[in-house]
Structures are given as structure tokens and as C-alpha cells.
Symmetry: C2
Subunit: 744 residues, 2 copies
Amino acid sequence: MNRVLRSILVLMLMSSNTQAQHPGLTLTKGGVEKIMAGLNEAPLFKKELQLVQNEIDRQIERGIDVPIPKDMAGGYTHEQHKNNYKWMYKAGNLYQFTRDDKYAEYAKQMLFEYSKMYPSLSLHPTNRSYATGKIFWQCLNDANWLVFASQAYDCIYDYLSKQERNRLEAELFVPFANFLSEENPRFFNRIHNHSTWANAAVGLIALAMDNDTLLEKALYGLKSDGINPEEIDNDGGFIKKEGVLEAGFLAQLDLSFSPEGYFSEGPYYQRYAIFPFLVFGHALHNKKPDLKIFEYRDQILLKATKSLLNLTDPHGNFFPINDAQKGMNFTAFELITAVDLMCYIFKDESSLLNWASMQRSVAFNEAGYYVAQKLKDKSQVNPIKESVYYGDGVNGMDGGVSVLRQGNTDLFFKFSSHGMGHGHFDRLSYSLFDSSGEAIQDYGAVRWVNVDQKAGGRYLPENKTFGKQTVAHNTVVINETSQCEGKVKIAENHSPDLYHKDFTNPNYKIISARDDDAYANVDMHRILVLLEDEDFHEPLLIDLFAVNAQEKVKVDLPLWYQGALMQTSFNATKSTTALEPLGSSYGYQHIWKESKESLEAGNFKLNWFGNNRFYTLTGFSNASDEFIMGRAGANDPNYNLRNDPVFIQRKSNIDHGVFFNLIESHGVYSTVTEIPINPYGQIVKSEIHHADEKYIICSFSNEVHQWFVYFAREDSNPDANHQLTLGEDSFSWKGTCKLVKTKI
Amino acid sequence: MNRVLRSILVLMLMSSNTQAQHPGLTLTKGGVEKIMAGLNEAPLFKKELQLVQNEIDRQIERGIDVPIPKDMAGGYTHEQHKNNYKWMYKAGNLYQFTRDDKYAEYAKQMLFEYSKMYPSLSLHPTNRSYATGKIFWQCLNDANWLVFASQAYDCIYDYLSKQERNRLEAELFVPFANFLSEENPRFFNRIHNHSTWANAAVGLIALAMDNDTLLEKALYGLKSDGINPEEIDNDGGFIKKEGVLEAGFLAQLDLSFSPEGYFSEGPYYQRYAIFPFLVFGHALHNKKPDLKIFEYRDQILLKATKSLLNLTDPHGNFFPINDAQKGMNFTAFELITAVDLMCYIFKDESSLLNWASMQRSVAFNEAGYYVAQKLKDKSQVNPIKESVYYGDGVNGMDGGVSVLRQGNTDLFFKFSSHGMGHGHFDRLSYSLFDSSGEAIQDYGAVRWVNVDQKAGGRYLPENKTFGKQTVAHNTVVINETSQCEGKVKIAENHSPDLYHKDFTNPNYKIISARDDDAYANVDMHRILVLLEDEDFHEPLLIDLFAVNAQEKVKVDLPLWYQGALMQTSFNATKSTTALEPLGSSYGYQHIWKESKESLEAGNFKLNWFGNNRFYTLTGFSNASDEFIMGRAGANDPNYNLRNDPVFIQRKSNIDHGVFFNLIESHGVYSTVTEIPINPYGQIVKSEIHHADEKYIICSFSNEVHQWFVYFAREDSNPDANHQLTLGEDSFSWKGTCKLVKTKI
């Protein structure tokens, strides 16, 4: 959208259909009436109301506490202010639902406590953020505060006298909004989840106060910000994206997501980022219906919600890529808000209602009420998740992510853009999940979010030195150096490319991507197939990773498996009396080297047990290949790392090579029955018959069948015909990839 | 019971009331009629019947496979023969329930396959056991086979012709029983769970065949066995207990359990051992009712069942002491059999029915049917477990074990006899459990039961060199040497002594024991209190461990905590670039030394996070004390050990000293809400005011209260009056231990 068009839109918006009724943001007068009349038709909402009422009654008894800001996240003042904004928000809503003045009075008194303190506050004393707040150590938390406080204010607006409102607005809300915007352009005028919070916070209070000046800033950003393009934030991300001039809420909608709703930082951050989009969106929907915010950019907020839900493993946990803390899932507060609101806005989206049925809790607003009604007589229905591919970037052309789904197994493949400051250097990495949990893991972030004991809940130093480094991921490392030299600036220049995908076959799914930029003069190409076949107990993972370099390089392929090593077909004796780090930099310094052995040419096997399951990797090695067993935890003075195991396949001094790995999940064991079922895999042989830059032909077999994979590496045209003759054998196929099963 | 009395009993038993009816062991003609008539009144049994029928129908379709014995546990022939005996047992029972000849025919054909093979079998080729079997690598498994095969035979007895029966008995059963008894006296004539299986196996086939000669052996053992008293079994246990001459099933009942039903090897093995007791007991109950086997030794089998159930943690897992594999629980097949049979025999034991309701499955016999009927309209009821103390040894005088229970917390304390070959050198050790899992763990056995990849499922070498050693447990190690020099022979000479217990107070439970024999010239005395107090979020563990030596010694107190270290009040920087083992023997060689630091005199704190909970240890140290952080896994070439963390408090060069530790469980954290609740403990100070061989006076405090513990170490008379003056303070109390809470 160009600047002229925007100005017209602004005029239109400001002049028209502003509804001055209160409440009018995420709750409306009409909504309140409907809810109170139909409470018995919405048992989940009624339960939520009761829970909130108990909580706030308890707080009213304990009294209000608005301390002078002092602590980092996890500390007392931080947690108290966080609780305060939630409590006043809930009290405001309760006032609407119950018409009991005590709730309005509680929110009012709290707001006045803040209005007394706020004018005297200088910056938070911690001074550790690129954008230090006043109430919290970072502006981000201050924005959180205003998002909730605005809604509280909206709910008790009519309870307050005009004089009281004037005082709160003049002494608290307007200065607060100005601080988050004009006084912190680096925080406000950026395309980033932090700024979405900032835009939403300023926008919500603008709508609550009917302040068009602030609303324009919220929607379209500051007119000038004077940000130096070299400036970076606390996570090492650049404040400004090259070439991006737009800012404000609508620009966030334009630029934060791919066309299908993927968010570059990954689902953990998308879960966090989507909340202000939805809350401000909800308020705009109520106050500025002409804006049709939920239709904006082809229903981008609906797509964003759906992509989030699709990016969960079989247990509903988000795939923990980039700086994600593991264990965040679809029952998070933000996802309940998102699912309920999308159900409410897009009433035909029945699959969303299945997600809501699994969440077992609803949002504390009109959308939550709507969903609670719908769920009254509905039993839980497990939503069906299909294999998906999400292109990354504003145009969906900056690589992407994909989930192959077959049976109960999810394979997550990452070949997206870097993901800004929270990105990891992990192009072409995958992680593998089944109904019992993580089989091949992504380490996630080295951080204990909000846990004061661990550096106030912030990122720990090992997040940068290990968590983000390539060797901490299941992808190739060249010459013990991370992709893009571990530099965000280099990583943000180019993204990998999708090469081929095929989700059409009911028995297998294929994804393949290439990257030529992670390492200068090195081309990487990975092909992943998830195959369900009656011969195997669980879906089989076929992993081909081809590397071509213009000079001789050392190539490591780590696999961070979960569990206990059972058996190897080769010698892997663990060092008995001393451990040393595997290397000195790029994350290698954090891995204790437990063993390093040479492999013989041909097949090797590794069998492990994790999550009550047995797994076997069958690999194919050349004579000079090595195999390293390791464990995270070296150079970790403060015990910040989990002591997780890894094995690394190493090819040294090569200019081309293909890793060909098969991973079987084939058995279970219970400590109650003590009976191992199928403790061994059944693949007896695998082989690469041919591999060059044009074609790969490989095969594997069990006792009765042999499977061939034919793959064209240079032509992904689905109609292309390929032919290859190897000795007396001739292979011909149509399309990029063909799987053939034959009887031995 | 003396030999003369026995002979009279034998005569009485053999002459009277033998019922030749078939089936008559664990199933009776009358029972079958009752079950078939009332199937709809017993839905759980009906479900079990359906499951078994499906399983056996599938097996009948697949055909019979009786391979020549060859493999270790986990291998093909081992697993096939294990399955075979279960299948023929089930087929036999099915024949009775359905009257469908195909089931009888299946069991018959299988038995004939065995009878064809058996005469030609020499010993199993593995030759790895102190008592090698024929069908399996150890006689123990052969006995398992006969226990089930006897019941199968009993069920199809009337289906077979007399000629067929004669052939099976002459070619299979009698030689089989003779092999297990006369030909393997070391296996048969011992007081040990292996021998219970042997006795039951021979006894069951004797009852099925009405063979009084074999029955006498089963009940009373071999008349002479010629066992050398120095012989040991595969686990390092002695075959013969000094002074014990009796053998056979009744002697097992006399000597295997303490008067209250505790079994020296611990609950994991008791669970395994109890099964043949119950099956043979059930058959004797039916065939030899005059023996009143379930009244024997004051209902010892009922007591044994109840003690087993009491020795489970809040999740129902057995406390994993000695050579236990973790994760075995009350839903194990043997426990279902035990609970159902005890419900059936002792119809007034209503608490057992609660356990049955939690098992959700019933035994495939008349007892299971009885319980299924009772459960038809009963919902699940969590059984209530109280604090318990079990004296060990035949007279209950060889030390014991105790579980302190307060709130949802279980503290297991071990001061029992050694537990024969499966015992660990862990006197006065404890482990701590709460509703979220293990907080302070017992490592358990270094073994993967039945998992072929791990040495055929047998004990791994590290079980002896680490698992059994003192440092692998939460108790004191003197001079880096295990208790009793790590020798079973020394350990079996003496047991620790209960000093004091008090379970009478609703808010706290106390247990205390002493040991003077684990180390020459060293007296050890531990006092454990589990205190529930409104000031604390969860029950608080108070741990006092006093050591007195006649010369200067080094004293280590390891604590195997579960989880991730959050924070220490002292420097505990982990070695960054090299790890070495902590020592060279007695298990120390298996611990990587991560840090070793000197403590200052006074308090120190350690905060960790495990199972989604926060824990804090508050310790009290002298100036020269040291603190070691370590992790299992050194000298472990085959990756047999879990890499679990430990910390060790060390007092060097002392002749007396007291460890005073407080463990708080005080907070939770969820990765979905990301909000830590109470991440810090609240104890601010602890102090030992006085400690000598007579008295200990210590205290601890939070911000508002101070708690004192007064403890008399030399006089456990509950009516004794104690008085102690320290400077200006005077302490007086009645009884061994007093807790006092005062306002600060």
C-alpha cells in the first residue's frame, strides 16, 4: 500500500463509524447482555467466569500492590506488575458481567496507583534492553501492560467520572502511549513482534480514549524514526529490515507473515506475537468495522492461526525451532484466545471448533462465550493434521518449513529464512516426532523463560554459543564452522529453496530443499521421505543429504537422538577415564567427545531406546568416514545445558558426498511387562547405487523386499522423463522422485 | 517345624482329601460352571476372556513353533518358549470356558511337541548360569515353563486319552520335574525366589498328576542336596544361608518373609517371587484344602501381598531398591494375580478391592472372575497408604524398611538386611518421591531386563561396580570405600537397627536407625523427619546423619537428585574443558567429577528443578567441608549407565560429624504458562546448636518461625525425660524426639 492510499484510508477511518460506546474493544455492550442471558448455555464460559471471580475476589481481599519498578523478569516487582495488569483486565470484565461495583473500584484504584507513580518514573533501573521500559526492564512488557490496561479502562469507562477519566488519560495513558511510540521509535517502528505489541498497545488505548492521533500512529507507524540501519536488538537481530519503510499495525500484517500465515521466527514466537494482532484486531472489528480487519490480506489472521495449529507435533507441542522453549503447546492462553476468536469471526471454520474442544478452556470474552455455547453438547474431537508446506517471507518465496505426516509420525523440515534475532543456523535440519514424543530433537533455546534463578529468565550465554550454532541441529556442518559463519547479517541475505514436494501419495510424503548460501562454494541438497509400508511397524524415514563443494571440506552430520544407546554395529567404546570437548568453537566446544571411531565402508547400524521405543539407524559409509558420539555439557560452567546425546557422521577431505540414513521406529518396551516387542530393526542392507549432481539411485532391503529411490536432483519438473543406465541396469522414471518396491 | 512333625504332616496330606477331579489346580469344575453362568455380571473378566480368545485364535492360525533351545533372554528361542507356555496355559483355560476342542487340541499339540524334543535335550548351550536349564539358559525359566504347563495340562487332562497322558507324564513332566529337583539341588533346595519357582513348578505338576513323591519334594525339599556352603549364584549371593537346613515350599513360606510379609530382596523381587507362592498356594487350596495354606504362618501370603502394595510410591511404582528395574508397578501381572486371589480368599479385605479397582484388569481365573463381579458397579477408589515400618528377617529383627508418608510425599528409608545376591550396599539410605515423581532417586539396577541388545537382558557389569556400591546411594561413604567392603558375606552377618519411629502425629513422621557394622569402628545414625506445616508448600524433609569414628575418616554423603541445577549459594563452577572420574574404585570410578569446591562454615543452598517442580536443599557445613558435583557415566564403555547427576557433601579428617540437611519442595513451573510459582525455598537459616553421642539440638527458620528438633541418640524409651543446658538455654523434653515451632 502506498503512502497516498494510506492517507485516504486514514481520513476515511477517522471520520467514519467510530462507536463511542463502552465497553467497545474486546467486549461490547450487546455482547455482555447476550452472555449474561445465556450463561447456562455455555458451561465452559461459566466455569471460566467462576474461576476468574474467585481469583479476583482473593486479590481484592489482599489489596493492591503497585511497587516501584526494580527487578528483572522473575523478580518480585516484575511479577507483581505482570499480575496487576491481568488482574485489572479481569476485574474490568467482571464488572461488566456482574455489574458489581467492587470490581470496577478495584480496577480504578489500581489504575490510579499507576497514574500516581507513572509521571515520576524514569527508565527502569536495570538498563539491559535495547528498549528499556519504565515499569518493566523492557518496553515490550510495558506494551503488554498497556494492552491489558486499555481493556480494563474500556470496561470501567462509564463507571469513572469525566474528571477521573481526564486525569487517567492525561497522567497515565497518553504519556504511556507516547513513551512506547515517539520516545521509543526503535521499539515502535519496526517490523517485529515487539512492535506489534507496541502498535496494539497504543492502538487499544487510542480506541478506548477515541484518540485519532494515537490511532493513526498505531495503524501506520511514526512518520519518521531516525533509526540507524546498523542497530541491533538484544537478540542480535537488526532493528530495520533492508528496504522496508512501512511501520505500524497494518504494515505488521503486511510484512510479518508469509501469504499462508507462517511467521519467520517460528511457531513459539508466532504464538506470542499473534496475541496483540488478535486483541487489537478484535477491537478494530468492534470499533472500526469498515476496516474489515479480519478480511485484511486475504484473511491473514485466520491463516496465521491455522498455520500455528498445524505446526504442532502429535502431542500438540509447537515444533521447537529457533529460540523456542520446549513444551509450549496449543493450550497456551494465546492459542485459546486465537482459536476462540477465529471460531467467532469465521463461523464456518468447523475444524477450529475441534481444536477448541481439545483446549478444554475458553477465552474470557465474547468469542469464548460463543465457543463455549458451541461446545456445550460436543465431545472432544481430535483435529486432523495433514502434511503441510509453508513458504516463508512476505511473498512466500524465502524458503519455508514443512511437516511430513504419515501415521502418527511427524517429520519437521526447516529450510526457511533465518528468523531474525531468534533464528538458529540450522538450514536443512529436521526433527522427528511420534506419538511417544521426540525421537530426533531440536534442542530449542538455552533459556528458562521467566525463571529468575537462571539469569532472570533471559537467554543464557550458551544459547548463542551452542543453541544457535549449526552443530546443535540435525544438519550438515562444513569444516566445523556454522552456516553463514554464525552471522545473522549473512544469514538474512538469502534463504534456502524448496526443490520438490509431494504429499499426494497416501503411503509416503516427500520434501526436498537446497541451499547454496550457507557456506561459500558449497551446495547442499537434502531429500526426506516418510514412508509407511506394511513391512515396517512404523513409518520409515529415508534421509539423503548430498553435499558438493568446490574444494575439499570436512562434513559433519549430527543427529540429536533422544534416549539411551543400546547397540552399535561398529566399535563405539566410550572414553572411560577422561572427556574433552569435541572442538573449540561454533558449538563444538559444548559437546563432550565420548568416542570417535573409523567406520568401514558399507552399512553400519545404531540402535537406541527412547520414550519406551526402540529405534534403529541404518547408515551407509565410505571407508574413510568417522563416527563420533558426544554429549552436550562441556564449557558450561553454570549447568545451563541439558546433557543430551548426539552422534555425528563425519566425512573428511571430500568435495562431494551423500549421507544416506534410514531411521526405523520398530519396537516398544514396558517396564511393567518387561517384554521387548521387536527390539531390532529389520533393514538388512542399504546402498547408494549412483550419486552425482544429476541423479541419485539408492536402495534398501529387508529379508523379503527391496525398495529403490530414484531421484532427479537438477530437474523438478513433474512431467520430465529421466533415464539412467548403470552397467546392465537401466532406470527410467517420470517426475522428480520415484519409489519402487520389489520382491527379493 | 521339625522333621518329625513334617513327616506326620506329609502322611496326613498324602492320604487325605486329594481330589482327582480336573481341572483342579487354579481352576475347578465348579468354578468354571459359575463363571460361564455369570459372565455378564463380570464385565472386566468378560473383556479379559475376549482378549485372550483373540490372542489364542491368532496363535492357532499361526501354528505351533517349538524351536531347539539356543538363545539368551531377549533372543528368539527364549522369547518363543516364554510365549509358548503362556499360550498353552491360556488355551487350556479357554478350553474350559468355551468347551471348544480347538483350544484343547492346540495345548495338546504343543505339549506333544515338547515331549518329542525334551528327552533329546542336553543342557542349554549358553552355559552361563549357576543352574543352567534345558529349554532356557537358566533353570528358573524352565521352572516358569512348568508352572504354566502344569495348569495347561490340568485343564486338558480329561480331553487327553489315558495313553496320551501316560506318554506326556513319562516323557516330559516327570523327567522335567526331576531335572528341576534331584538333578539341580542348588536350584531346588535353597531359600530363594528361584527355588520357590522350582518348588511350585514341581508341586503343580505333582498335583496335576497326583504324584505324591514329587509333591513331598515340592513341599519339603530334597532330603539331601550336598551343596557346598561357599557356593554362590550368578548374582553373587550364597546358595545356602548359614544354619538353614530346611527347604521346599513350606520352608520358603517360613523363611522368605518377615512376620509382616517383607521380603529381603525388596519389592521388585518380591513381586516376581510372590507369583509361584500364590499359584501353588491356589492349587493347594483347591486340591489340599486341609493344609489351609492361606492361613499358614498367620496368613503370611496375605501380609506379603499387602506389604508389596504398601511399598509403592505415589505413582504406584515399587520403591526401586536393590537390583530393581525402575518402573515396575502394581499393575504388573503378578500383582493382579495376587490382589485378585487375596480378594477371593479373604473376602473381608475391602481395601484390596480398591487396589483391584485401580488395576483395571483382572486375573484369568476364578479369583479374577470374583473380583470382576465385585467391581461391576464400583468406581475406582484410590487406596489409602499409611506410613509403614517393616522389620526384616524371619523374626523381623534384622533391621527393616520404612515409608514415611505425609501429604503426597513418600520418603523411603532402608536399613534392612542385605538382601542376598540382589542387595545393594546402601544401609541408612533414603529416596524421596512426590506426586510428580522421584525427587531424590535410588538408581536401581544397571540392567535392561529381557532386552537382548544389552547383554541378553542380564545384569550389566556396571551393576556390580556402580549400582550396588554405596556411593550410588543416598547414604554415607567412609574413606571412599563401600559399606562392608562391598562384600555380601560381610553384609549378611549383621543388619542395621531400628532406633526410633513415630507415625502417630498427623503433621510429621519420624524414623531413625543406626548401623555399627557397615564400617569397622564407625557408628552411623540417621534421623529422618517428614514435616507438614502450613508455612511450607509441601512436606519438608529434615535429614540428620551423625557419624562417629574411632579414627579420623573422610565422610561423603551423596544425594542423587533428579533434574537440572538452577542455582547454588556457593561457587560450583563446572569443569569446562575436561572431565575425570571422581575416584578409582567402589563406584567412584563411574562418576564424572564436574566440580569440587570448599564450603564456608554455616549455611549453603542448592536449588534445582525436576519433574516440573523446584526443590531447595539447605545444608549446614563446617569450614573444611567440600561440595562435589558429579554425573554418572565414567568408565562406562558400553553406555550402560544413565547420565544422572549427584552432589556429594564431604567432611574430611573427622572423627565425628553431623550432616544436617533440609529439603524443600516449594514450587512449580509449566512450559505452557511459563510462570514459575514459588521458585525459591523459604528457609533462611539452619543451625546445629549441639551434637554429641547423646543429644542433637538443631533448628531452622523461615522469616517468621523457628523450628527446633531435640533428639536423644542413646535412649529411645518413649517415657524417658531428657534435659540439656547450652549456655543460657535449657532444653527439656520427654521421649526420643521433640519438634518445637516458635515465633521469631
